[in-house]
């Protein structure tokens, strides 16, 4: 029952995110367009490129969708509304996200196209750099909660949200989330300059699954930000199952809209900033959190 509800919620979330994304691009709110687009995609012919690595080509979109859904499965809607409350939930989110990278590499290689492959490999570098910035702020958050369980992490923010106590970790995590879900300005793997890169070779059903996976990924990451830094279901007046979706949507809208106003980064800058600036800052964040924890106690 919970699982069904969960899938439904994710689908709704993906739908709303699509609406928001279109709004961010075109400036108009059009609730029908996503459905129409999806139907159109399902109806079009699935073209397979010449000489693909068929297994990888077919498996990639599915893997992407699955890993996004799995990451979402350990994130709580309310204190009891969670599919599975793993003791290592925080780590599991990151583990699932890494498979996004595997999926994109598979897609890039399997399509047997130069642009797709460049896109796939460049995402490899990007995600390895940015998964550090995902896992290190999570470590800091878990330090405060003294647990890796996502429910315990939310409960630890009862007095004050983590965004207040660890602003540095929050900023890094948001940037890393944008990098991991290849939103602009981090959208190297499917950039228009690469003829849509990884996504370029997909059509029809496969493209639909690919896009759905991406949307679910955005929802998942927005939920993760909510859970780890914005107090999850905690909030005044309204019940918890309202607060989490509301916060998630706000975060998703910010993620989608915010990047539109920044020019796309070059890959070397992207990597340099992550390795040379982001990781020292993340370590500083961990040290800072450790010091505050010791000082408060």
């Amino acid at each position: 029952m919970t699982a069904l509800l969960f899938v439904l919620l994710l689908l709704i979330g993906a739908y709303v995110v699509t609406v928001i994304e279109r709004w961010a691009v075109t400036g108009r709110i059009d609730p029908v367009a996503p459905l129409a687009g999806a139907l159109a995609l399902l109806a079009t012919e699935s073209i397979v490129p010449r000489r693909p690595d068929r297994t990888l080509f077919d498996a990639a979109p599915v893997l992407m969708l699955i890993s996004a859904v799995l990451a979402a499965a350990v994130l709580p809607l309310t204190s009891s509304g969670i599919v599975v409350d793993l003791a290592t939930g925080g780590l599991f989110v990151n583990a699932a996200l890494v498979y996004i990278m595997v999926a994109l590499v598979m897609a890039g290689w399997g399509a047997d196209g130069a642009y797709a492959m460049v896109g796939g490999w460049s995402f490899l570098g990007q995600l390895i750099a940015y998964s550090m910035l995902i896992v290190m702020p999570i470590a800091a958050v878990a330090m405060r909660a003294q647990s890796l369980s996502t429910v315990a992490i939310v409960q630890s923010q009862a007095s004050v949200w983590n965004v207040i106590t660890q602003p540095l970790g929050f900023v890094l995590f948001v940037l890393a989330a944008m990098g991991a879900s290849f939103l602009p300005p981090f959208d190297l793997p499917n950039a228009t300059a690469l003829a849509m890169g990884v996504a370029g070779e997909y059509t029809g059903v496969r493209l639909a699954v690919f896009r759905l996976g991406r949307l679910v990924l955005v929802v998942t990451l927005a939920t993760a930000i909510t859970v780890f830094f914005l107090g999850g279901w905690l909030g005044p007046l309204l019940p918890g199952w309202v607060w989490t979706p509301v916060k998630t949507l706000v975060v998703a809208a910010t993620l989608l809209a915010g990047g539109r106003y920044v020019p796309r980064l070059r890959q070397e800058h992207l990597l340099q900033w992550s390795w040379k600036l982001g990781i020292p800052l993340a370590l500083t964040n961990i040290a800072w959190v450790g010091v505050t924890l010791l000082a408060v106690r």
Partner: protein, 165 residues
């Protein structure tokens, strides 16, 4: 009852993909098959109630094997396996040694009277105990290993970026 079935299933998957690693001629497939082996091992870890290790295995091996794939593409003459070039040697002796090793392991596994059947702490308790182990009794070992590994990584980087004239 679920546990042996899960272990058996993931074990068969792991063995199957391990064979695939050395049978396929496409390098990227090799690397991804290796990733599948590691994922299956992670599944076994999870089935054996070592949750942290299982999740960690899933996380670490994904990036490692993907990196392996890109290095394959960089350094192989025939990464796609289209040219059907031969990339093995001394097959017979290697097979013999491999079979001997496997046979030895199987013998030990079957004929030694292992004890067993103990209960494990809960996942949360495991995390706690593992943390206490690392930060307490085994700290020196862990730190030593960490520093050694760091030194090796720096050395590897230094080797890789050394200018060749």
């Amino acid at each position: 009852m679920g546990q042996p079935i899960a272990v058996g299933f993931f074990g068969v998957v792991a063995i199957w993909f391990a064979i695939t690693v050395f049978r396929t001629s496409s390098m990227v497939r090799s690397a991804l098959a290796l990733l599948a082996v590691m994922v299956a091992l992670g599944g076994i870890f999870l089935a054996l109630e070592a949750e942290f290790l299982g999740v960690l295995q899933l996380m670490m091996m994904a990036s490692e094997m993907t990196i392996m794939a890109i290095f394959m593409v960089m350094y192989m003459m025939d990464p796609g396996g289209l040219g059907q070039m031969e990339m093995t040697h001394q097959k017979r002796s290697a097979g013999l040694v491999g079979a001997l090793g496997a046979l030895g392991g199987v013998t030990l596994a079957v004929f030694v009277a292992w004890g067993g059947g103990a209960t494990v702490p809960t996942p949360t308790g495991q995390l706690r105990l593992l943390g206490l182990e690392i930060m307490g009794r085994s700290m020196l070992i862990f730190e030593t290993a960490g520093v050694t590994i760091l030194v090796a990584m720096i050395a590897a980087t230094a080797v890789a970026i050394a200018r060749w004239r």
